[in-house]
Amino acid sequence: MLKVVEIDHLTIEYPDVKAIDDVSFTVNQGDFLGIIGPNGAGKSTLFASMLNLNTKYKGTIKFFGTDIRKSKNYLKEIGYVPQKPIFEKNFPATVNDVVKMGLQKESDENKIDEILQQLWIHELSERRIGELSGGQQQRVFIAKALVNNPKVLILDEPVTGIDQQSIDLFYSILKELNSKQNITIIWSSHDLDAVNKLANHVACLNRTLFFHGESDDFFENDELVKQYSEASMQEHMHHH
């Protein structure tokens, strides 16, 4: 089995706190990994390091067997969908413009139409990005992430603030990308039910790695789920 990501003894320290403490795990090709954890568990921090947005960490991160400190070429194989894409509301860019930004080679323009159709946003291609609903915008950002035929899709809590119908459509698209196109998916989420339904692997993060393994091993172990829920609840109370 080809190892897509190998994270080895990753520690990320801020001046007053360890955001990630000695985390190690591996993601194989074709995995659909759901990363769950309460707010402040370090999910976004972990992604920032994996995407080379934060380079101040201890330990190693390898993509396709190569240390990401040595080569940034792996970024070409990755599609990234952020939690909530931030852009100027009046930015004069159409859906087509936004998807094209992700395109690394001009010659692949046919690919844009194909992906817009696949994600049910073909009719919106000439609309301005800022006038779409949250769910439609999220699909545009997935289209942008997919336009280079990535081997890995990384999604950071991608359904925050989106209506249920769009969420369902979004999940069915992810499932299809993973099962039919064999795209490895690394996805952080708060939604345990959705992770249970979609992911075949689970990583449970709360600064340290609480659990990593097959999805069934987690969800069929009531004790683990209870421990996780209690930890989340404590964190929730702490935040409020």
Binding site: K72, N90, F91, A93, M101, Q104, E126
Partner: protein
């Protein structure tokens, strides 16, 4: 007299240079406006004032020293802003006031304000020489080619820096390139509208065009059209009525902006606007 003005060669040079500058300011300005950096052009223009004063004192052609001083100070300011995490508007204020301060001290040392200084402060498009026109056209051509070649990277890093970085765009280099191009554009445009009104050409046609255009390219074309119209109409009307070209050009741009606001208020622009 109305048609006679088209026979003067100084008028040909003014209009050709004016159109080139209008195009340049629209394209470079749109990136600045969308990055919430609207006043950056103003700050570079004010720092170029220091460069102009330096050139006049040293007996060097003032625009050359203005290019040097404004590009270097804009790049240094961008570096300081990133390094020490200073906000964009504060860095603009520092750049703007230091340029004027340096300029005033140098002018004081070299005997006070002269006619030359006023022509740079308020523009002197009717006085552009053949060499100036060639320089303006060449710089416009070079900057437009650079923008066409790096179009995706420029647009992407303006849209969302983080996402652009993840897609492998060298965002930091692109940011410095935009500052560099803004520096060249500002100093090149000084002859048209002067130091004091440059940000008008960077900002007004672009904020107007954003209300009409759907996509990026469409917005650039609309902005260029408004800008070219304002510049050409401004030059001609100011000549006919013997008033200042810089002020007239900017008033035409403001007029289009005001009409657009009127159209928008009447609900005649589509939903995205």
């Amino acid at each position: 007299m109305t048609f006679e003005i088209f026979t003067f060669s100084f008028m040909h040079r003014a209009i050709i240079s004016g159109i080139a500058i209008a195009i340049l300011c629209s394209v470079v300005g749109l990136f600045l406006v969308l990055r919430r950096y609207s006043l950056f052009g103003d700050a570079i223009a004010h720092s170029s004032f220091g460069g102009i004063a330096l050139g006049l004192m040293a007996g060097i052609y003032p625009l050359w020293t203005a290019y040097g001083v404004s590009i270097i100070s804009a790049l240094i300011m961008t570096r300081i802003k990133d390094r020490f995490n200073i906000s964009g508007d504060a860095s603009i204020a520092v750049l703007l006031s230091s340029g004027i301060a340096v300029g005033l001290v140098i002018i004081g040392l070299s005997g006070g304000f002269t006619l030359d200084i006023f022509s740079f402060l308020f523009g002197s498009i009717l006085l552009v020489s053949v060499n100036d026109t060639i320089l303006i056209l060449s710089l416009t051509g070079i900057i437009l080619i650079v923008i066409l070649l790096l179009y995706r990277q420029l647009l992407y890093s303006t849209f969302n820096e983080e996402q652009a970085k993840v897609s492998g765009v060298s965002v930091e280099k692109i940011n410095y390139l935009i500052v560099f191009m803004a520096g060249i554009t500002v100093v090149t445009s000084i002859q048209l509208v002067g130091v004091l009104l440059i940000s008008a050409l960077f900002v007004i046609p672009n904020v107007t065009a954003i209300m009409y255009g759907k996509g990026f390219k469409q917005t650039v074309i609309i902005s260029m059209s408004f800008s070219i119209f304002s510049v050409v109409a401004g030059i001609l009307v100011s000549y006919i009525f013997d008033i200042t070209p810089a002020g007239t050009i900017v008033l035409f741009a403001i007029g289009i902006f005001a009409c657009t606001m009127g159209i928008k208020s009447a609900g005649l622009l589509s939903r995205h606007n």
